[in-house]
């Protein structure tokens, strides 16, 4: 027996070690949602209610923030124009940067109390605690997506647009039906991609790219005949980035919901009520209209395709 006891000990250790390691590695982290849900229960207006939150609930000091004293806003990198300028969200230039700072201002944050973090689109909807208060990245609101995250009210209504090259056979197209036999590309994860399948329904399967840069390259290479993006992006591409590009026209996504860009929050984050109140105020006092005029004004005279 004496001889065997160390071996038994070894057996037990070998049994327990992986478990102990596992337990140490997987011990539930402090769940910050616990604190946020705590504040939800205090507030009379739960997420998603139409009631505007009470005045004092949105006082800067009492907001349920990711990090105290600063509003943490996420976007992807590179940040594309005209939504951001010079790939720098902190400069307040570009439509989304300006909207983000306007929301921050409305919530009572000064410009230096805003922290920007880079969050790739693909990880913006991962489950669990998010490392930001909200994400602003031309994310379209859909009912299906809202099962995984919480969206603010829309801050921009986007139409889709078709871009081709000036010397392309499709440059003179006047309707979506003209693109039936075209090779059409779009960025993955965008509603533009759905728009190709649902609105244009070309004979060839759409070509899908990681970002608009790759889609533009494919257009320039002649690998696709046309690309689809939201209208402001399309306008910027043809005005600045691809001078030989041609914005054929814009179209509305008729099937499904009206397309709106929303701020993305962690599912159930109560901060969304105060941000919605701020957005409503910014719509009402004309701030958002002014920002749109400043950064997206040149996109209104684009022909409609049907």
């Amino acid at each position: 027996m004496d001889l065997r006891s160390p071996r038994r000990c070894a057996v037990i250790t070998s049994l327990l070690t992986p478990l102990i390691l596992l337990a140490a590695a997987c011990a539930p982290a402090d769940d910050t949602t616990a604190t946020s849900s705590g504040s939800t229960s205090q507030s009379p207006s739960a997420t998603g209610s139409d009631e505007p939150p009470a005045e004092d609930e949105c006082a800067t000091g009492s907001l349920p923030l990711y990090e105290d004293g600063t509003l943490t806003i996420a976007t992807d990198s590179p940040a594309f124009e005209p939504w951001f300028v010079d790939d720098d969200p902190t400069n307040g230039e570009g439509y989304e940067s300006a909207v983000a700072y306007a929301v921050a201002d409305e919530l009572g944050f000064s410009d230096d109390e805003v922290t920007w973090v880079t969050v790739p689109f693909n990880s913006s909807y991962q489950p669990g605690t998010k490392k930001f208060d909200f994400d602003i990245n031309q994310i379209s609101i859909t009912a299906k997506r809202a099962e995984a995250v919480t969206f603010s009210d829309g801050y921009y209504s986007a139409s889709q647009a078709l871009i081709t090259l000036k010397d392309s056979a499709y440059a003179g197209a006047t309707s979506l039906a003209d693109f039936k036999d075209a090779k059409i590309g779009a960025q993955v994860g965008t509603t533009s991609l759905d728009a190709i399948t649902n609105e244009i329904a070309p004979d060839q399967q759409p070509f899908v790219y990681d970002d608009t840069n790759n889609a533009k390259q494919a257009l320039l290479n002649g690998q696709v005949d046309a690309i689809v993006s939201d209208l402001p992006t399309a306008f910027y591409i043809t005005a600045v980035e691809i001078p030989q590009g041609q914005l054929v026209g814009q179209f509305q996504v008729t099937s499904g919901e009206t397309e709106q860009f929303g701020l993305l929050f962690e599912k159930g984050n109560p901060l969304v009520d105060c941000v919605n109140a701020a957005l409503a105020q910014l719509q009402q006092d004309g701030t958002i209209a002014a920002i749109e005029k400043r950064w997206l004004s040149n996109v209104v005279d684009v022909p409609e395709l049907d």
Partner: protein, 286 residues
């Protein structure tokens, strides 16, 4: 004379005790193995399932409704991966064999080709496959040369062939170099030419010897067909990504992962089988 039958074997008392002890040891080992397996698996499952975020993880990664909805699309898209690696595998074998042969045969006049082959293997193995796909997929068509393919499928095949040719060439070269010089000498002394010795004596043995690492590279290639998505070709992983980003649900990725596993498992089993057969052959039995 009748041969006396040997006395019936009677185990000694000590032997009986020894056997009993051995049986108890065997039972004990089985028990410990079973209990520890169950404890670790159940413990892990319990940790995952009782974690505070499990419900969200289950809804975003293991959403059965989503899986059912996207599976047909993803399975259809796997056809593209299968076409890609089938065509690329053939091209890679041809290219790699050429490079390996150029590097091993001692012909002085081939010096410039040998240099090209060395540089090629270094570059092909040193460049991330993703980068090769990008350069070939977007760079080659940008040249706008006549006769250069701009079809994404063929560009993908070219990129994968370039990248994997380097690895496979080195595997084949190692196999050829591992064949004992006496095999060359025997072939030549039997009157075979240098080429015949290589073709009929050395190469078959070399290929057989490196079959497991070769198949390993092809398993890896099957997964890397997903990289071709970068240049716009919609294959299984991209289809999963499209669905995932539309629905904000990662389940499509899990579905794609299961598909890739289903593709690679047959090859992995084939490797095991071949390795076993090689061992049997070399040991001379059956």
């Amino acid at each position: 004379m009748a041969v006396p039958s040997p006395p019936a074997h009677v185990r000694s008392a000590r032997q009986v005790e020894r056997d009993a002890w051995r049986r108890s040891r065997a039972r004990r080992r089985t028990l410990i193995a079973a209990v520890s397996t169950v404890v670790v698996l159940v413990g892990t499952a319990w940790l995952v399932v009782t974690s505070p975020g499990w419900e969200r993880v289950r809804d975003t990664f293991f959403d059965l409704d989503e899986a059912r909805a996207v599976a047909p699309d993803i399975i259809r898209a796997f056809w593209m991966n299968i076409k890609l690696f089938t065509v690329a595998e053939v091209a890679i074998l041809v290219l790699a064999l050429g490079v390996a042969v150029i590097r091993v045969i001692p012909v002085a006049g081939l010096a410039p080709l040998k240099l090209v082959a060395v540089v090629y293997t270094d570059v092909a193995r040193g460049t991330p496959t993703l980068l090769v796909v990008f350069l070939v997929g977007f760079g080659v068509p940008a040249l706008r040369l006549q006769g250069v393919p701009i079809d994404l499928f063929w560009l993908g095949v070219i990129a994968l062939t370039f990248s994997y040719g380097g690895y496979v060439a080195e595997v084949l070269r190692a196999g050829i170099a591992s064949i004992h010089p006496s095999q060359w000498a025997s072939g030549r002394s039997l009157g075979l030419s240098y080429g015949q010795t290589f073709r009929h004596v050395v190469l078959p043995q070399a290929v057989r010897r490196v079959m497991p690492p070769l198949i390993n590279d092809f398993v890896s290639l099957q997964k890397d067909t997903a990289l071709v998505a970068l240049i716009g070709l919609v294959e299984a992983l991209r289809t999963a990504q499209i669905n995932s980003s539309r629905d904000f649900d990662y389940t499509p990725y899990v579905v794609a992962a299961l598909g890739f596993i289903a593709l690679t498992v047959p090859l992995a089993r084939a490797t095991d089988h071949l390795a076993l057969r090689a061992v049997r052959r070399e040991q001379g039995s059956t």
